[in-house]
């Protein structure tokens, strides 16, 4: 049947990305960049009631070099923005960012002189979670959306 002819590089490559993305999406090491009250909801999500480890993201890493998922949880001021940028830059590819809550997504109601109006003005964001603060169910939903996105990514993720 000429099966060898059909086993092209494209075919093998696609399967490899599926396997690799499957491994990536279930072993997310998070860096919790927690600045405000949303942190309580993040803790609730991470702890046993909602148990984020069911989704393969149970290990927080407090070094950006060991993390591949940046949770920006809470309000970011202009004074803090260079720190956030540096943390993001230190993370190795592939890496993903979740804007957790209204403040991280848009500045929230802090429409003022000192607050960054959404972290997507500084770093690229993959998933936004609305809410002030969001419930843990929303966080888990966002995590599953991110996993879907990771699964669909090409082998070489562009930073």
């Amino acid at each position: 049947m000429g099966l060898e002819g059909q086993l092209t590089g494209t075919f093998v490559g696609t399967r490899l990305s599926d396997a690799l993305n499957w491994a990536r999406k279930y072993s997310l090491f998070q860096y919790p960049f927690v600045t405000a009250c949303c942190g309580m909801e993040f803790m609730a999500t991470a702890c046993s009631h909602y148990d984020i480890s069911r989704f393969g993201a149970e290990i927080p890493r407090f070094s950006p070099r060991q993390a591949d998922l940046l949770f920006v949880v809470g309000t970011v001021s202009h004074k803090l923005a260079p720190v956030l940028r540096k943390v993001y830059d230190q993370m190795c590819d592939p890496k993903w960012v979740v804007a957790f809550g209204a403040c991280a997504s848009s500045g929230g109601f802090y429409d003022n002189y000192c607050t960054v109006q959404g972290i997507d003005t500084i770093i690229p964001v993959d998933v936004y979670i609305p809410g002030c603060p969001p419930r843990p169910e929303q966080v888990l939903d966002a995590l599953m959306m991110l996993q879907e996105k990771i699964q669909a990514e090409p082998l070489e993720k562009q930073a």
Binding site: H78, K79, A81, P82, R85, Y113, C114, Q117, T121, I123
Partner: protein
Amino acid sequence: MSKNVLERLQARFADQVEETHSNQGDDTAYVKRDKLVELLTFLRDDAELAFNLPVDLTVVDWYQKREPRFEVVYHLYSTTKKHRVRLKVRVDEDDARVPSSFPVWPGFDWFEREAWDLYGVRFEGHPNHTRIMMWEGFEGHPLRKDYPINKRQPLTTLLGEQK
């Protein structure tokens, strides 16, 4: 007791106290800034007054509502006499400065830096007269009523501005 504070202050600094009022037990005195340090030292050291606790120091911006524009407000408390007083010093926009109260109460150190940072009132004689909340290079004083409400001064390069 409460009237005693204002009476003692007026008796000692008759030419410095512009006006006083008492409302619901809260005493307020508008004073001039000329002998402010001397006046504050008297409030601290006088045996009857003994204001040993600097509670708060802030500024009110009466932009386009009153002249002169700014009021520097001092809140003081005595832990031994259990009484309070509020002092207000009026300063003009073109001459927004008062003598520093740091030599009298070192606890007002950061309060004065905050008032300078956000309202732009100078506290002459402060040992470290720098911004405390906003960063070096920040332009203007953001709690002034004429600071543009949408003005942003980002410290990092924004994503859309790169290359």
